[in-house]
């Protein structure tokens, strides 16, 4: 079955690891839709969240290959595990003074924050799941979007569930 998979990885925090992992996906013709990387509480390890679209069986094979990498400590597919997903977007939108009030209201509904303001534009930060971010973008479109920066999601399993946890290796 072809669908979106969210894979969390605990990896060695050193150069070349990301290239190695990216190579595995590209070598099989997979496009990484979203990717985020950051250090964990243990600075020797990084955590990656990778989102790909793909057939279950092929993704299963990719997970095995990832596990085989010596720099990969743990691989978790969060697709079927209750998880929390968050993404941040920074969006710069045209906003001449007369239209600002309208935009402020939209930002409030989305629990966003104005992080920068200029003569003719506003920069807004919104956090949430992908659907919320996309809805926000759609609603701002008519005002004239100048620039967007998205982080790609970070994901973590809910509660104390051991199965979905990467722990600290």
């Amino acid at each position: 079955m072809e669908r979106e998979h969210t894979i969390a990885l605990l990896v060695e925090n050193k150069s070349g690891v990301l290239a190695h992992i990216a190579g595995l996906f590209s070598g099989r013709g997979f496009n990484i839709k979203e990717l985020s990387v950051g250090e964990t509480e243990n600075p020797e390890y990084s955590r990656m969240t990778i989102v790909v679209q793909g057939d279950d069986q092929i993704v299963e094979q990719i997970k095995k290959q990832l596990n085989k990498f010596i720099d990969v400590i743990k691989v978790i597919d969060l697709t079927n595990i209750p998880s929390v997903h968050r993404e941040i977007i920074l969006i710069k939108v045209k906003a001449q003074p007369p239209r600002r009030q309208e935009i402020f209201q939209i930002v409030e509904v989305f629990k966003g924050k104005i992080v920068d303001i200029s003569q003719s534009s506003l920069t807004i930060e919104v956090t949430g799941i992908t659907e919320k971010i996309e809805a926000f973008v759609a609603i701002l479109k008519p005002y004239g979007i100048q620039e967007i920066a998205r982080t790609g999601r970070v994901s973590i399993s809910r509660g104390m569930s051991k199965a979905g946890g990467l722990g600290n290796g």
Binding site: G16, Q57, K64, N67, I70
Partner: protein, 583 residues
Amino acid sequence: MKMTGAKAIVEILHREKVSIAFGIPGGVVIPLYDALYGDKQIKMVVTKHEQGAIHAADGYARSTGKTGVCIVTSGPGATNIVTGLATAYMDSVPIVALTGQVPTSIIGNDAFQEADTTGITRPVTKHNFIVKDPKELPIIMKKAFYIAHTGRPGPVVVDLPKDILTAEIDFDYPEKVTIPGYNPTIRGNPRQIKRIMETIKVARRPLIYAGGGIITSSASEELHKFVKITGIPVTLTLMGLGAFPATEPEFLGMLGMHGTKTANYAVHRCDLLIAIGSRFDDRITGKLSMFAPDARFIHIDIDPASISKNVVIDIPVVGDAKHILREMIQQAEKLDIQDWLTEIARWKKEHPLAYQNDGTLRPQYIVEQIDKVTDGNVIVTTEVGQNQMWTAQFFKFTRPRQLITSGGLGTMGYGLPAAIGAQFAHPNTLVFDIAGDGSIQMNIQEMATISQHNLPIKIAILNNGYLGMVRQWQEFFFGRRYSATCLRRDGRCPEECENPGENCPPYIPDFVKLAEAYSAVGMRIEKKSDVEGALHEAVKVKKPVLIEFIVNPEENVTPMVPAGAPLNKMISSKEDAQNFLLA
């Protein structure tokens, strides 16, 4: 103890019990070669091309089970070993390759002889390292050797910037190393093993399909014992040949594209396929959706990523073949599968491997004669193509590590340098490289290395004047249009060659003269009746000998499963191929 990085590496090689290394020096590795100069424990064999060095290290590793070591310089030295790394990676061969690198201060500056070695070799190695801090050198070297020879073995590259080799370090070599992301499973899950044995006991048509994993884990004796208890017939992959003696009645021959009809029919008809240390490669399965259509699948492999990669497995067991087979032997009993064995015996009788045994000098006959004249006391390396398949079909391999061949990557030019590694490892054993006239030329420069070390390697070139395997496909599937496969072709030939024959240009090079130029003995054999005598003479001479056999140019490897066909649809001739194409 304080010492330079280069000295530390030599000390580490001593502690890892490395007695031989293959390579070529260059600018940035001069300090390392300097530290090796005059070393009593490590024999440094300098080849003529880095590809020769890495294949020699590979041949040494395959023929012994030890880790092969290769030392080359940065840039082109490193890129020249890429084919050899890929060869070793595909066939799970333990190698530690040390590559020089420009000093850390100028990495990334497009310096002279700089290449991104870790970037280039990442997809063709089990793992690679670049040493950026001299303090890390010992631990990285320890990890490299550990990773190369444990689990599913493979090549590991350690990239060594020049300043790391000259830096003073406090030498401390760890006895052991733990790597959080690397912990191969050795012992199979007992519940899964029990399930396997229960399944085997109720099978009516079981078949063992074993591969190179048996050889890697030294599990031949266990396999033999298991087969003798249960009576289950065995087929082997190319990489597995020798893992079970070809002379035993349970052996059905190799399976797959150029496997025996018996083996392929048995795979097609079995109701339980027991794969051990093999990986369901496309040359084995033929058309995947019709592979062993009636069978349930058991797969025993040390690499979890091999399980259900191509064929969905019913009962997998991850672990080392030797351990798992030992457990299986504990629970094994004789199976009542007489009907199945009778069916197989009939195929064996009706479809033996054959070739036209007439007055013509045919390559299959030469392979058989090499087996006969040496009485099987020989290590055989091959090149890739028809020579390799005829060797696999007609030489009766009886022990593991007797056949050294590039299976997964199919690297032409592998056999000659691999023979160097095998001969150094086994100075008292006869080593034969069975070669084609095309592939031998891809690393023929190593003839010089052979003569310089007075290695008594025998080279049998089956000269058919073609890149024979491709020519065979052209004959079968492309209307005998021999595009780019004729090795006699020169500038005078017409655009499209209609009639290969008497008027063809002479063969270049003259292999006999070439052998002599390299201080080896050269012979040319054109008659079938001269083969045996020539081989006897070659074996007697304590020198490298090259024999060029002028064989029937359009001899084919048969039977053959055409690409994309199921295993039971084998062809044996051009006519069969036409019918296959029309169907």
